[in-house]
Symmetry: C5
Subunit: 314 residues, 5 copies
């Protein structure tokens, strides 16, 4: 059977510790330290663990004690508009008949699990706290896939922009994407170890029947890491394409401009010659001198263009 | 003995589960979920495994249960014209007397195995489902070699184009090749682990006599990975050659153009001098002034050319 | 109970070796070799260990003997103004009922521990030398976080400067930051091994109750290493952004300047033509010749600008 | 005792299988498949092994069976003129009293071993097939050293050319060298594993007395790998030197040319001023106007040169 | 007790083999193969080991036999002036009551050990051949520190030169430094394994009391490797700083020169206009035409400078 309570004080939850049913306590926000202290005392949690729950710079990890398992995981989300990766720490205390989750911020990330419990479908109502933990970790891993999907769209967008319309802002964006991927990897890499630890674990708090499910989440984290690595390689590739494109375009422009200049500089020299004021310059007196100079200049220009063309300079 | 059926409904296959002969069920396409559910129920497959079969983003892996082995592999093919790598997920369920293969798309990739079964030559008719699995995995690995061969041709083509006729599109193509190689590595690297897992496996579903064959496929995957790494190094090398070639050509052009400009600029200055309208400019009145200026300019031009030549600037 | 002595001579400390209480000897500065020799003799320390204490180029390490444990760690601090990383070697000798710490320089880094001992709060007064060692190592690890925080500020500042106001000094600063990170990693990487060694250690000098605390510090060192790696990736990214920004700005400038030059060079040629002094140049006599030349030049300039614009050159 | 036969048919060799003496069969060329099949049948070799012998794309490996050991190695040679690395596959079948070697091409690479057998000096006549295998593998490893020596000469040559006379072909040659080193590494890396496998092997086909000899060849392969890595680092370094040299030379040229242009452009402007035809230009009438302009231009030129010099621009 | 002999013939040393005292034979130079052969025979050394002693391309390694231990190490020295790394192979044969060292060249590198033996201070006279081996290996490791110190000076010098006075030779020197560091790493990396092997070794030739000393040298080799890696990172950083500095300086020069050219080119065009010889050019007749042109040109120049300044181009 199943009941759902929104509790005002944490003491109200303590009677459930003795019941044979599975209790899931979900704590939103870590600012009320007194609640955490009460939980710590009541459930006999090591003080260092309580410190770890409060410190949101924790690395994902699993610590296994005789009467409970402590898990730290990182929930990620990606705000489309801003492109900022948000990371929230979720801690789990898994005991014989309870699961306590600590979220850094209020949110509805576990709503899907709550619904599955309410609807009573699937294994979740029939299984123990270890399966509930699996279900919650699965939700967290699914969020990684959502984030990666959005990132994949951005990477593809970057790729197109680099080819069509490269501006200087692209480099910053590529670097931002790279940094997000670094943070993502920093969160998911130890999460994999957490799951590996839970699978190898001989604790009686994790039943053998839950192992395939944990291995499934483990496979998902491996996949996330694979995709992160692929995106890193791709963003590096995009940077290379961008740099070589910018340099190619620049080269093309400089080449054309320089060729124009190079053709006109000798011509300007020639007209300069006949602008000199020497008293004795026989060419100036020739009747066809002026058209002849035009002819010479025309020939020089064509010869240069032909030569440049032959050497495939434009 | 041997029979071949094209079945309309999946139930028609279930009687074979009880026969002592080896049954190979090949399911083309994963859109009819009801068929998969029937198979899952009838052959007592874990629901998570059935999910894995449907999810085509799976990473190649092997999972060994008491009564069956689950294998995920990736079949690759390369469409010459487009240069796009196509990846198709192939799942295997290997039981005591059956092999069930799930293909993402309809196709004739396993025709060669079908022919070997029909012709009855070789070990394939005399051996169990483990040898059949080997034969199918061998076909998949052979496709990697085909893809690599095509890629090798493209890499060589890129190499030649980079030396003879480098354009800006080459960088994109090199990046595309790099990405295809990344995807290829992502598919073949875990396939190696799959085969390693099958060889080390103590399950009675894999007979010892099949081990040398599996080790042979294992060696092939190692070879594929070797070649992929070599191609990656080669494409990086091609990119380096491209970039240094483009920059060398650009330098050559700029150098020649700048030298032309640099020679004519002082000459233009000189003719400018004698184009000035000062009343008192004695040179203008000299009879040999004009030829003398030509002479001076000729000497300057030759001196500059000589100097540039001596310093090996062209 | 608890007493605090500032000792003038080291012999005054030796009687405490026989008392059942825990003695913490803190030696500031390593210049008085005679004091170290007396301690070495009195506490029966291996001469090589005494040499290691004196040699401040030691790598962090742990060596476990029957009657004492020797630990070398590195304390880091970062002088905001100069941006120089300062590294100080701290050695520990942990025995059955004593802890001896050797600091390279005088300083108050362990004041917080001293206060906790004096106030008598927490486990520190109730626990043995192993817990005291933990408390001191924890202080050292906390300093790494302080240093990383300051470095994080500098990295962010570099990032902004690179985008807004890049000068040539930025590269040196980025390299300096990179080098500081290398030194930091060199100090913290073996510190992690030290802590791992203490946790795995079966010596009766480390009680099992201290293990969770040591594991906590171990986790901190892993976090420090993670952050160091992230900062290294970020500084590399900043360098890339800087280089591509500088090159982009340079390209923009050269492009505009070259376009100006390219437009005026043909015009200068034209005015040069009509500056020639040929006797027979019919255009010179035309009444509208002069405005016509202006018109032609205007058309040429506009055509060139239009062409450059159409090809998106500016 | 010792006999040497050049056999026409492979059946002639089969009687030796039963004799207590050591038989060494050397097969040149793999085109006569029937011979290989006869050997396979007669010596009871697994059909997959026979396939491996024929497939010359094999990776070096060792496979140990009850009655024989199968070894694949790669013989390398380097054709000075062409600079092409040639790789030939050599397979070994080592049994109780025979060694069969399969060469891809006819050649005299094993002549030195043949001579040592004929001369009867050393251990080779007194030892079993394992020592003969060692001797043959030693010859193969020695060829790696020969190839590396030639490559070392080429690397040194490249280094000198890069400093004295860098042309665009150098990059292609460096890339070719890099690729040869990749192939070399691909051949020698698994060869090391082959030897490691033979040393660790508990098979009675390898006597303990041969282990030191195998370890010696093992050390050689490690040395080859070390040298390959060193050459790879060196070629990368040469590429860096080349690129920075080319860019430095280019910069020098552009700098000088641009300085010449920059000095003459203002001077050309000045002479242009006094080439204007305004009716009222008082300077034109001054008697010392012309020399004064020369003086002004001289001063401008010297000032610019001085300024450029002071800023160390040339 | 202690005696020192400079022996003319190697046979003179053989009687000491039977005495209970420790004998240290130091062989300078490897050209007299006959001496080595006599030693090999007399001390029953495996012929492959004798070959290894003669082959000075050996990789540092340790090989442990029943009655002796064979060690190869590399002594490095750095000739300040030339900056060339010199590597000399030192081989050790360590038996029950003897140590034989083979130096490639004559030299006094072991003089400090000789003096310690003569003076009789410390453990060296009281300990066995294992301690003597430690003392000699310690000398070799100390030389690495000397070399690294000199290299550190050169790296710092390079750093300064790169900032103050970068020339093209710097790249070659940086590459030379990199290569020296590669060679250094090639020598010290396996030396660490040698020492690790000696520590783990269960041979009765190494007494337990010597283990702490060997671990001390082991720590030194780890430190050498750390420093080598740091220097490699630093030289790479210097190369980056150099390249970005050169490119920055070049950009600055080109920018200033191009700005000068760009300002004068339109002005030259204007003066060209009024140098045309059209009969009807009204401006030429205006009284203030000439000063007006000067004014216009002045305004254009100032406007351009203002625009360039506003866009921060200089």
């Amino acid at each position: 059977n199943f009941t759902y309570h929104k509790l005002d004080s944490v003491e109200a939850a303590f009677p459930f510790k003795e019941t044979p049913t599975v209790t899931w306590l979900n704590i939103d926000g870590l600012h009320e330290v007194s609640i955490l202290e009460q939980i710590g005392t009541h459930y006999e949690i090591h003080p260092l663990i309580m410190e770890d729950i409060l410190n949101t710079d924790q690395r994902p990890k699993v610590e296994i004690f005789d009467n409970y398992i402590f898990i730290v995981a990182k929930m990620v989300s990606y705000n489309g508009g801003e492109g900022e990766l948000e990371i929230e720490q979720i801690s789990f205390l898994v005991g014989k008949n309870y699961v306590i989750t600590f979220q850094e911020r209020e949110g509805d990330i576990f709503d899907s699990v709550r619904e599955r419990i309410q609807s009573g479908k699937g294994r979740i109502r029939r299984s123990g706290p270890d399966y509930l933990t699996y279900a919650l970790l699965d939700v967290i891993t699914d969020h990684y896939f959502l984030v990666l999907e959005k990132m994949g769209d951005i990477v593809e967008g970057l790729e197109e922009r680099v080819l069509l319309n490269p501006g200087p802002g692209v480099v910053s964006e590529i670097q931002g994407m790279k940094r997000s991927l670094i943070y993502l990897r920093k969160s998911v890499w130890p999460l994999r170890e957490v799951l590996g630890g839970l699978i190898r674990e001989e604790s009686q708090l994790i039943q053998d029947a839950t192992d395939p499910y944990l291995r499934d989440v483990y496979d998902h984290t491996v996949q996330v890491m694979d995709t992160v690595e692929t995106y890193r390689d791709m963003t590096s590739g995009i940077l290379d394409v961008y740099l070589s494109n910018v340099s190619y375009r620049m080269n093309e422009i400089m080449k054309v401009l320089t060729i124009i200049a190079t053709i006109f500089i000798p011509l300007t020299f020639i007209v300069g010659v006949y602008g000199m004021n020497f008293h004795w310059m026989p060419e100036l007196g020739w009747h066809w001198g002026y058209p002849a100079v035009w002819g010479v200049m025309f020939i020089i220009a064509v010869a240069m263009l032909y030569y440049f063309r032959k050497r495939k300079w434009f």
